[in-house]
Symmetry: C2
Subunit: 188 residues, 2 copies
């Protein structure tokens, strides 16, 4: 069983790499096996359909975006003020920047969602839950920023990461400066 | 010559369609000929290399994003205030929403730019020029918003359009409301 769980993880990580490096159309069971170094047929064994494969990738992307041990603490020792909220947003951006394959894979899947309703359903449900969790978290911890602010920040940070990870504009702003300015202005 | 220019346009529009519908990896000379209904070999005749084809698509995307006759006027009859700037931004969003293939094709090319330096060069130069033009335009017409505000709006509108054209989150905000809130908060 452990063996299976491990192999599942290796295959999912290989899938994320394939998506990031070759785009959604490059994502085939065969490409995943090649990237994972597993015998041909292994990926199809674990994820029989392309939808199963994409579901597994969405789950794995979610895991890789979870806060690590060095993340900003939410243990309640800090006041739930603008500064703490800004630190949370900076934390998310740090995680996205540190693992560019995950962000690129996610952008690829979102474009694929524009073409395939089944991908839109899987990915849409996951993103909607994440958005709702953010809204609930801010509300429960007394942080500033309601649904509107969180929505606007989602859009802005997405656009910033898309720029940063593809062919960035020279706008005179570093990613850090842009994040600070966005939080400062959107959160009012 | 007219015939050639027309055919060039038909091929470029077919290329935009292929990009939007099949992604960057689906963009081949053969797919462009099929989408354009031209004999095989035509696209290669007009755009010998893939880089030539992508260059032509970037140019065509730029043309399709130009303001039409119904755009907000910049003839100097309105005061260069926040309201006029907000109207310009809404105009851009309207053009992007009305021609989703162009926006999707552009996102595909930007992801391709993360993988191919030649695409990054072509696309990067075009986007940098567009950004610089925006900054110069605002400055010359006395509109509010300098490089920082224009950069932040670029990011935020990109993220908003990406969401809107793929599997949109239900954030409780319409595209219009999000644009107004973003302009209002970023432009201070």
């Amino acid at each position: 069983m452990v063996r299976n769980a491990e192999r599942r993880l290796i295959l999912a990580d290989a899938g994320v790499r394939v998506l990031a490096e070759r785009g959604a159309r490059g994502l085939t069971h065969r490409a995943v096996d090649a990237a994972a170094g597993t015998p041909r047929g292994t990926a199809s064994n674990y994820f029989p359909s392309r939808d199963d494969l994409i579901s597994a990738l969405v789950d794995r992307i979610g895991e890789r975006l979870l806060p690590g041990p060095d993340a900003v603490s939410s243990d309640g020792t800090r006041a739930p003020d603008r500064a703490l909220f800004a630190d949370y947003v900076r934390d998310v951006v740090r995680r996205l920047s540190a693992d560019p394959h995950v962000s690129l894979a996610l952008f690829e899947l979102r474009l694929e969602a524009a073409r395939r309703p089944s991908v839109a359903a899987t990915l849409g449900a996951w993103r909607q839950r994440a958005f709702q969790d953010d809204v609930t978290f801010n509300d429960a911890s007394g942080l500033p920023g309601g649904p509107t602010e969180i929505a606007l920040l989602h859009y802005a940070i997405d656009g910033l990461m898309f720029d940063h990870l593809t062919a960035p504009l020279d706008t005179g702003l570093s990613v850090d400066a842009a994040v600070s300015a966005l939080v400062d202005r959107i959160l009012r």
